[in-house]
Structures are given as structure tokens and as C-alpha cells.
């Protein structure tokens, strides 16, 4: 299943929106986009997960890696409106308190 990835710039941040399943096949593309935007280092990065209906541990690892890189660079990193199934996986991973989660898009 292909993952659609859209980028959008706002005044305060970069927003990356993923649509589809994030798994071993698709997470490398998401990782590439996230790391490239973080490398610019100019703005906070938000990942919109409202239309991700499935995410596995490779997707979670991608988000953790993004957060680590952002923390080291003192850049903001947040998740926006994760779908119910994404929230469940973050909870299973005991990572739901580690990410800044914003509810609206």
C-alpha cells in the first residue's frame, strides 16, 4: 500500500501529512521527508497522522528518530491528530507521554 506524503509550510512550522499505512515498506519514505525538513533546522516540524490508519513499530521508530534529532537541534517536533489506531500503537509502545500531541490540524 502506497503512502502519500504531503508537505506544507505554515508561519511557525513545517507540516508533513501522511496518508495510508506506515509500515516497513513505507516508513523509509516518511523518514526521509522528516529528516530532510529537520536538517533545515529553521522551523518546528509537525507530523499529521490523522489519515494514517495503520502504523507498525517501524513507523513508531521513525517518529522517535525524528523527535531525537529535533531535541538535539532544539527544534520543536509534534504529532497532529493521530488516528485512533496510531494512538493505540503509541500507547502500546509506552510513548504517548513522550510526544507532544496536538489535536487539531
Amino acid at each position: 500500500m502506497a503512502l502519500d506524503i504531503d508537505k506544507r509550510e505554515t508561519d511557525s512550522s513545517w507540516m508533513v501529512k501522511a496518508k495510508g499505512d506506515v509500515d516497513l515498506y513505507t516508513s523509509p519514505a516518511l523518514r526521509g521527508v522528516i529528516l530532510k525538513l529537520l536538517a533545515k533546522g529553521d522551523k518546528a516540524l509537525g507530523v499529521d497522522l490523522s489519515e494514517v490508519l495503520y502504523m507498525d513499530s517501524s513507523g513508531v521508530a521513525t517518529l522517535v528518530e525524528g523527535l531525537k534529532v529535533a531535541n538535539n537541534a532544539k527544534t520543536g517536533f509534534f504529532l497532529t491528530a493521530p488516528s485512533e489506531s496510531v494512538m493505540k500503537v503509541l500507547q502500546l509502545a509506552r510513548l504517548d507521554a513522550v510526544f507532544e500531541i496536538r489535536n487539531s490540524v
Binding site: L24, Y25, S57, V60, V89
Partner: protein, 142 residues
């Protein structure tokens, strides 16, 4: 032994994991497994496959994986077989996750805990020379 309900052989290509998930999800739905448990099982089966592709086969996409789904009176059993590098027993032991320490973030190490979380019984049986069998059992609740 009764014929299994389903036996899916697939190429070790991450692209095919969405098909494995679709099959697993529909099978569980048809059995009436509730959505929360079914979601955990779909994730766990996917993680077992992901581990086999990454660790047993070192990312090679042309090898064979097989999942067998066998129901009996008490359990629904999923068995994943590969022919790759056997796993080290100490790395695939039951592991539970604690709330993550934000100052010590590690990307990885989630697959094995997800598998033990979803299933009621899990057995990793590494082959002597090569291969792995991962036997995962879900207790029936109907």
C-alpha cells in the same frame, strides 16, 4: 492433524506485508474477534514478518516466508516460518515495556514486546542450523 484453514507463502518483500495484514484482519473479523484484540494481532503478525525480513533474511526480498493459521477448540494459532538466520534465544524472550524515558529515546526494540502483548502464548523455535518458527496463539473467547 486437521488441515489448517490458511497457509500463506509470500516473498520476503515489505511491499507484500499489507496483503498479509489484510488476510489476517479479515480472518479474525470473520471469527468475530473484537476489534481491539484483532488490531493487536494484526500488528503482532506484521512485526513477526518484519523481524523475519530484517533479521532472518537481512533485508533480502527474494526469500520465502510462510504463515499458517490453524484454529482449534481453544486457540487460533499463527505460525510464521522462515529459512534464514536463527534468532538468539535471549533476544526474543518475553519483554514488557515501561513508560519511555524521554532523555533516553531508542528507535527500535518494539516488535518483540508487541508480539508478546497481542498473543496469549508465544514460542520462538530457532532451527538448529537455520530457520525460525514463531508460534503465536490467541485464546478463543467466543
Amino acid at each position: 492433524m486437521k488441515r489448517p484453514d490458511l497457509h500463506l507463502e509470500f516473498r520476503s518483500d515489505p511491499k507484500l506485508l499489507s496483503c498479509v495484514r489484510a488476510l489476517t484482519r479479515r480472518y479474525l473479523e470473520d471469527l468475530g474477534v473484537d476489534a481491539e484484540r484483532a488490531g493487536n494481532v494484526v500488528l503482532a503478525v506484521d512485526e513477526a514478518c518484519t523481524n523475519a525480513i530484517r533479521h532472518s533474511y537481512g533485508g533480502r526480498r527474494d526469500r520465502k516466508l510462510a504463515i499458517t493459521i490453524r484454529p482449534n477448540a481453544d486457540f487460533i494459532e499463527f505460525e510464521l516460518c522462515d529459512n534464514g538466520v536463527p534468532a538468539r534465544a535471549d533476544q526474543v524472550m518475553r519483554k514488557e515495556l515501561n513508560p519511555c524515558d524521554p532523555s533516553n529515546l531508542k528507535p527500535g526494540g518494539l516488535g518483540i514486546p508487541f508480539i508478546y502483548k497481542a498473543f496469549d502464548e508465544v514460542a520462538f523455535v530457532p532451527g538448529k542450523a537455520r530457520g525460525n518458527r514463531v508460534r503465536m496463539r490467541l485464546r478463543r473467547q467466543e
